[in-house]
Assembly symmetry: C2
Homo-oligomer: 146 residues x 2
DNA sequence: GTAACTGCAAAATATTTGCATCCTT
DNA sequence: AAGGATGCAAATATTTTGCAGTTAC
């Protein structure tokens, strides 16, 4: 059963790659499957821990960059200089992300989640400013940790 | 006249340091005066460029850390792994920041501003989540660049 | 005088780049 | 076969740590 789930993720990864016109390689499949497996967002370090023996650190950098460039994955800014990455649910076009959900970082488990159902609020800016992307990051305690 | 303004910032820096029970040293005065002079938020690199010949890089790291710890300055997360720092307007207590303004990053000039008048909105979280700090970062074009 | 701060050296960590080789299409 | 992806080595950049000397109070 578990095998089946894993196999499913692998297949799903492959489809996502093809759909985005990226060549299907081991590292891309692996990293994408890891994203699918995770509930939350992951960092470069998380991937490295999981795959250090299988892929080069540099490959992970390049793969993540490719995913971000192609709109498969978006970054979540944090205050501690450790960028996290999460799968885009919608079809984000090349170079243009249009996720409008907020992000949640749990103070207890330190996991980062995309709250897909919570839409970023309208922000009223002072005269003269025009808004593009709005990023909301909430820190608190997640439903599993309370 | 310019001299007077500068001298004023120096004096102001000294007062802030004393008020926060920090010893008054050259590097702290300099960095604090730099914050006062800036409209926007600054990065470690900005300070280093300005003061590389006067202070050690390590001193800048430690000074910034001290300021954050003591609540003089808060950090602004960015998506490109380059933390920015800005003065706290309110009296933030040791270890506890309570700024509730949003941050704005200009796509043109790449400056980061604290929009002190724009209050962070209430966010309605899904059942089970409890919110602590809410960070809002808006990207767009600032009033000087449009 | 004492505790705290700084500079310097060095270690540890993180990220980027060039290039030869291998793999996907 | 051709272009793209990977691994490896090395260059760069960033951040942390230890310690000895200096400074603020």
């Amino acid at each position: 059963m578990k095998q089946a789930v894993k196999a499913n993720r692998e297949q799903q990864s492959e489809e996502i790659l093809k759909h985005n016109k990226l060549s299907v390689t081991d590292s891309r499949k692996f990293i994408l499957a890891f994203f699918l497996q995770q509930k939350g967002a992951i960092s470069h370090g998380d991937i490295e821990k999981k795959a250090a023996d299988r892929f080069d650190r540099v490959t992970i950098y390049r793969t993540l960059q490719t995913f971000v460039d192609r709109g498969l994955v978006h970054t979540i800014p944090t205050a501690d200089n450790s960028i996290r990455y999460a799968l885009c649910k919608d079809d984000c076009g090349k170079g243009e992300h249009h996720d409008h959900h907020i992000h949640f970082i749990c103070d207890k488990c330190r996991q980062t989640f995309c709250l897909d159902d919570v839409v970023t609020p309208e922000i009223r800016l002072p005269r003269g400013y025009s808004a593009g992307h709005v990023e909301v990051v909430v820190e608190g305690v997640c439903k599993d940790c309370r």
